[in-house]
């Protein structure tokens, strides 16, 4: 699949934002993070900003952004529609939660309840995003059980690492957050590793034989219907070279997981200023790492339509 920048930016930014929102919504009421106004302003602004920018950017690749409101209408069947609805719905508890935190410096009680609501809606929204991909049967690399957990986990990883960095910046570092970040990163790494193992070892159910119904032997494309690339090939025919993908996976392993793990672990041992630096670095690293991961998520995905264009496997 063609790795469109706007979609990559959207899913990474909104994923991080929702991860952050969710953690704030849970860890605030849980008393791990104090209802400190300036921290709250920064964290919530970052989270909601990332989410909103992401959502905005997702409309850039639309043919008719001015009609984007229509995308909210088909929640009964469409994960994309559900995602949109969920995203908008999330603003309600998140807004109230933010009012409590920033204006009233409260994140407990009723305000905490909004936090938990925000967290739940964030998870739902990220889940919907994941399900957009997870539900697409023609794409083996998406239509599998690892996609939903990976999306959720990666949102959590980025959110946690961003949160950890913010807390350190405000001098509010907390072992529980560090632990959460470490645990999320480890889990995310495991899920993503499992995902890669899965797509490397499992073939798509569709083959050139099933695509054409010609089953007497190997099916090879002799002439495509057009000698130049068309929409289908530009959108769905994208192929990343194996070697290139392997390199990028290494980068993703390193920047999204390994480095953040080390840096985050280090924050526990380092003096505050250095710890803040390490936490910031971890957050930056994971942000880059997830962009790379997301790029690969598209680039490594092969659409069944390519079977009609000479792909031996999808």
């Amino acid at each position: 699949m063609h790795p469109a920048f706007s979609v990559i930016f959207f899913t990474t930014a909104s994923g991080a934002g929702y991860g952050l929102l969710a953690l704030l919504g849970v860890l605030g009421p849980a008393g791990v993070i104090p209802a400190e106004r300036w921290f709250g302003l920064a964290a919530l602004a970052l989270a909601l900003g990332a989410v909103s920018l992401g959502l905005l950017s997702s409309t850039f690749h639309l043919g008719h952004p001015e009609r984007a409101w229509r995308a909210l209408t088909q929640w009964r069947s469409s994960w994309l529609s559900r995602e949109g609805v969920a995203a908008i719905v999330t603003y309600a508890p998140a807004g109230l939660f933010a009012i409590g935190w920033v204006f009233l410096e409260r994140n407990d009680g009723l305000w905490g309840f909004f936090g938990v609501g925000t967290a739940m809606m964030s998870a739902v929204t990220v889940g919907c995003t994941a399900m957009i991909y997870r539900s697409l049967k023609p794409i083996h690399q998406w239509h599998n059980g690892f996609v939903l957990p990976a999306y959720l986990a990666l949102a959590l990883v980025t959110g946690a690492l961003w949160l950890n960095a913010l807390l350190h910046l405000f001098g509010l570092g907390h072992w529980a957050v560090t632990a959460t970040a470490l645990a999320a990163t480890a889990a995310g790494w495991a899920i993503k590793a499992a995902y890669w193992w899965f797509i490397d070892t499992n073939a798509a159910i569709s083959t050139p034989n099933t695509a054409t119904g010609l089953r007497t032997g190997r099916v090879r494309l002799i002439d495509a219907p057009h000698t130049e690339d068309n929409y289908l090939l530009k959108e769905m025919g994208y192929r990343v070279a194996r070697k290139h993908a392997a390199k990028l996976r290494l980068v993703a392993h390193g920047t999204a997981f390994a480095l953040p793990l080390v840096l985050t672990a280090a924050t526990a041992a380092l003096p505050p200023v250095l710890a803040a630096g390490a936490a910031l670095l971890a957050a930056a690293s994971v942000s880059l790492g997830v962009v790379v991961e997301r790029w690969l998520f598209f680039a490594e995905a092969r659409h069944a339509v390519t079977l009609y264009y000479g792909a031996e496997a999808a």
């Binding site: 229509r70 209408t73 002799i222 002439d223 219907p225 057009h226 000698t227 130049e228």
Partner: protein, 963 residues
């Protein structure tokens, strides 16, 4: 149920839009197939073109090209105004001029030629569908140097058929699609019968008939064949002779048919060393003789009630020995050298396969005979209660013709058909009227010594069918009289001319210099020439002394900015096929099918939006300016002031015979022969632009010997008299040439040509190694290289079409996977393809479905940069390639250095498919762009900028929603 969004807004679909505000019927010209089309217009714009269901050619269907007519008609490459060259020839520097200036300039050049030596005009027309007009014009002008594209196209098929069975493959005959049970197709990707063949194959396959395709390449039709015979190119003759061998050996031959309809019972004089050797024994009246087995005496072979012997040695009354032609034929092909196992390795067809196909042919022909209870009367007036059919049909085209042994191979296929009794019988191969014609047709080529004179028409048409050396167009010393050397010793039966040699010969001044090359609808500086790069330089070459062009004037009529335009001094922009009157005449290449004659017109369905004129119109105008007889009236004014439509309705070729056969006579009640009808064209327009007559059932088969049909054909002017048309398996015409080569008669070939004439003018079909293959080293050039026509492109003119070029705008060289592996070539690699002449660089595509010793590519996808109003970096120019660059118009030199043209020695047919090459992977650094490349052509003045986005059709939708 409501569809749509929350507000329940459901989409309102107009399921009954009005397609057009006007509907007009005319004839397609995206190719030469001449299908009927129904054109929907909306606000004067072409909205949709669909096949005409009533039309005898396409019966409602339309091919990929025809369906893209809109983009052809609105092509940005359309020429807009007459152009006069101002810069160097070939540089594409033109100014726009008015028609008056263009026509008077042309008339000035041509007038001077006609007043001095009309031969200095070479008038050659390519994809011409108005040859009855262009040929007549040349005749009236007085130049013999006229031909259309047939010589480089498929004259081997035309001549092979017309000198054998009085009809031919090409589009002049067709399989009995409805009834055949076994269909063999040789070397066809498309043919001129583009849609009829597809319709036919669909029916035939649905009925469960067996379809065998003999073709080195398995694409298109071959892909759906029940059996694909991946023969080695140029060896079909041998394959067919092996089939004949098997049939003869088994006695599976329709003797009754041979005796009734062919010249195989005729007695051939056996008198070696004499001038009559090999000719037919004749009585005083000139009738051929056969040996009556009952009377035990020679009798006229044309009498109905004879019992001719097919074998035996007989003595003629004058004491000479004679034997039936059948016997000579049978002995030849029974020779063990035609045994399947002997031809297997040369043809690449396993012996078992050959034996089996022979057995299948015999089985279907003789065991699955079909009988129609349709009474008919034979030529001798005998009634027959039924029609017996041998349901084996064959069709062949350029895979046979485009080889230097194609004439004989074509004759071999006809021989096989005849032996099976399957020509013009139910289930067999059928003639389309106006065929069959006498073998060969009676018309002889004009242009002999004394027949070409200043200011004088030729005494007859420039093209025809020689019956012997006396009909050649040669000087007393044997040199050619035509610029293309047609009807010379180099190509004696060149009944369509040799268009592929015109430029080379004119440049050389061999046999003489010409003044003006007048071309119409032929892309001679590109895909219709061999040695394309050489041709381009010949067109621009100048005499070192005078500084004048070797070919002083070039006038060209094209409708589009083709590669050829840049080489013209004067460009006459034509209309598109939707803008003009045209006539698809019975005098020419009509739309008949086997059930009856038909002809058609085109009429303007949209008015030109440019300053263009139809070429026919221009030709008549020039004719009038030149004062050509038949084109001016008594006062010297134009005979057809109404232009081409005036000519179509009022011109008479012979009394009562005109370009169009329908609605003749003052009241329009006659067809075929009748006085001109002033309303004739109106009748055509009312009748969907075609006329069709269905023969009564009793005339639909055995046309060569069917009394009622022959009489009808005579009244229609198809044939001179209603005599039986006897098929000539044994060709006396060829033997006459051979005897001349052996030193008999007054007209003999020069010594240098004797051996060649003797060898290739065998009265029975022969097979020989194609010339290029024989001349080049097999190790240096081990592979055959072919082209095929893509079904969705017409030669060069499809690529300007915004839709068609999206299907293919670059071509690859297809190669067998195993062969590529042995050469270290991988799929997608770039390679050099080298012939004895030149080399091209291109990209390969590996496949299974091709003869291992063969590579091939699609024809004419490669374009010159800038041509056809395409962007200079269009893939057609940068990744597409033209195989023509490596095909030479000349064979490697003979011992004395003389180079024959790369043609069939009998007909002069261009031997495109004799090409032998080697293929080598090129260096990685050379990947990416094809070679050779030529300087980008400059767009002529007046052509519009091409759009970056085409939203064709949006306006129709707007119009719909608005109204």
């Amino acid at each position: 149920m409501a569809h749509g969004g929350p507000a329940g807004e459901e989409e309102v679909i107009d399921t009954s839009p009005v397609v057009g505000d006007e509907v007009k019927y005319t004839t397609c010209y995206m190719c030469a197939c001449r299908c009927g089309i129904k054109v929907y217009l909306r606000d004067g714009k072409v909205r949709y073109i669909q096949g005409n269901r009533e039309h005898p050619v396409n019966r409602g269907v339309l091919c990929a090209k025809g369906s893209s007519g809109i983009m052809q008609h609105y092509s940005p490459a359309r020429l807009r105004k007459p152009l006069k060259r101002v810069g160097e020839r070939g540089k594409g520097e033109f100014v726009e001029i008015e028609w008056e200036e263009a026509l008077s300039l042309a008339a000035e050049w041509l007038g001077e030629i006609r007043r001095t030596d009309p031969r200095r005009l070479a008038f050659f027309t390519g994809r011409d569908q108005s040859q009855s007009l262009t040929g007549w014009w040349a005749t009236q002008f007085g130049t013999p140097n006229y031909a259309a594209h047939g010589g480089f196209c498929s004259v081997n098929m035309a001549a092979g058929g017309l000198y054998s069975v009085g009809g031919s493959f090409w589009e002049f005959g067709e399989p009995d699609w409805k009834r055949t049970k076994y269909f063999m197709m040789f070397g066809v990707t498309e043919d001129h019968d583009s849609n009829p063949i597809k319709i036919g194959l669909g029916h035939l396959k649905t009925r469960g008939a067996k379809f065998v395709s003999v073709n080195p390449v398995k694409t298109g039709y071959s892909a759906i064949a029940d059996e694909w015979v991946g023969i080695r190119p140029g060896t079909d003759g041998l394959f067919v002779m092996a089939l004949i061998h098997e049939l003869l050996k088994a006695g599976k031959v329709d003797l009754d048919y041979l005796v009734r309809y062919t010249n195989l019972p005729w007695l051939v004089i056996q008198a070696p060393g004499t001038e009559d050797d090999g000719l037919f024994a004749r009585d005083e009246a000139g009738n051929p003789l056969c040996w009556d087995g009952e009377k035990q005496a020679p009798v006229s072979a044309l009498l109905p009630e004879v019992k001719p012997a097919l074998v035996g040695d007989f003595t003629l009354p004058d004491g000479r020995a004679a034997t039936p032609a059948f016997r000579l034929m049978a002995e030849r092909y029974l020779d063990p050298r035609y045994a399947p196992e002997r031809v297997a390795s040369t043809t690449g067809v396993p012996a078992d396969t050959i034996r089996r196909i022979a057995a299948e042919l015999a089985h279907v022909a003789f065991e699955e005979e079909i009988v129609l209870n349709v009474p008919w009367t034979d030529w001798a007036g005998r009634r027959h209660s039924k029609m017996i059919g041998r349901p084996v049909a064959m069709h062949a085209m350029r895979g046979i013709s485009a080889h230097s042994n194609g004439f004989h191979t074509c004759r071999a296929i006809h021989t096989l058909q005849v032996l099976l009794g399957s020509i013009e019988v139910p289930g067999g191969f059928r003639y389309k009227p106006p065929f069959p014609k006498p073998v060969p047709p009676a018309q002889k080529p004009a242009g002999k010594v004394g027949e070409v004179r200043p200011d004088t028409p030729l005494p007859g048409p420039p093209l025809g069918f020689p019956m012997g050396p006396e009909d050649l167009l040669i000087e007393a010393d044997g040199r050619a009289r035509r610029i293309d050397k047609a009807y010379s010793w180099e190509a004696p039966l060149a009944s369509h001319g040799l268009m592929h040699m015109v430029i080379t010969n004119a440049w050389k001044g061999d046999p003489y210099r010409i003044d003006t090359l007048f071309l119409y609808m032929a892309n001679m500086s590109w895909n219709s020439s061999m040695n394309t790069a050489g041709v381009m330089s010949m067109l621009t070459d100048k005499c070192p002394n005078s500084g004048k062009s070797k070919i002083p004037h070039i006038i060209y009529s094209d409708a589009y900015f083709s590669e050829m335009v840049a080489y013209a001094d004067l460009v006459l922009p034509d209309t598109t096929y939707l803008e003009r009157w045209d006539c698809i005449s019975l005098l020419d290449r009509p739309i008949c099918h086997a059930d009856g004659p038909a002809d058609a017109i085109r009429h303007p369905v949209v008015a030109p939006d440019r300053d263009v004129r139809s070429f026919q119109e221009v030709l008549l105008d020039l004719g009038a300016r030149l004062g050509l007889p038949g084109m001016v009236d008594a006062d010297g004014g134009p005979k057809y002031p109404g232009g081409y439509p005036d000519y179509l309705a009022n011109h008479e070729r012979a009394p009562g015979l005109g370009p169009l056969a329908g609605w003749r006579g003052v009241d329009g009640r006659k067809h075929g022969r009748g006085e001109p009808n002033p309303d004739q064209l109106q009748r055509y327009v009312e009748h969907q632009s075609f006329w069709h007559y269905e023969l009564p059932d009793g005339q639909k088969y055995y046309k060569m010997a069917n009394k009622d049909y022959l009489e009808y054909a005579t009244t229609m002017g198809f044939i001179g008299k209603p005599d039986q048309i006897v098929m000539h398996v044994y060709s006396e015409v060829l033997q006459k040439f051979r005897n001349a080569a052996r030193g008999h008669g007054t007209i003999q070939p020069p010594d240098s040509e004797r051996a060649r004439i003797e060898a290739y003018f065998d009265p029975l079909p022969i097979w020989y190694v194609p010339f290029e293959e024989a001349a080049v080293d097999a190790r240096s050039f081990p592979l055959h290289a072919l082209t095929q026509r893509p079904m969705f492109m017409y030669h060069s003119w499809g690529s300007q079409n915004a839709w068609l070029r999206q299907i293919m705008n670059r071509n690859r060289l297809y190669m067998h996977r195993a062969k590529a592996a042995s050469l270290g070539i991988a799929d997608g690699d770039w390679v050099w393809v080298t012939s004895h002449h030149s080399r091209v660089k291109c990209q390969v595509k590996l496949v299974e479905g091709v003869n291992v010793d063969t590579v091939w590519t699609w024809n004419a996808i490669g374009k010159r940069s800038g041509a056809w109003a395409l962007d200079p970096d269009a893939p057609e120019a940068k990744q597409g390639f033209l195989l023509n660059h490596v095909i030479s118009e000349l064979l490697p030199p003979r011992e004395d250095g003389f180079r024959y043209s790369n043609s069939d020695p009998v007909t002069g047919q261009a031997a495109w498919f004799d090409l032998k090459v080697r293929v080598e992977r090129c260096a990685d650094a050379e990947f990416g762009e094809t070679a050779p490349q030529f300087p980008t052509l400059r767009k002529p003045p007046g052509l519009p900028d091409t759009p970056k986005v085409s939203r064709f059709g949006a306006e129709f939708r707007k119009a719909r929603t608005a109204g």
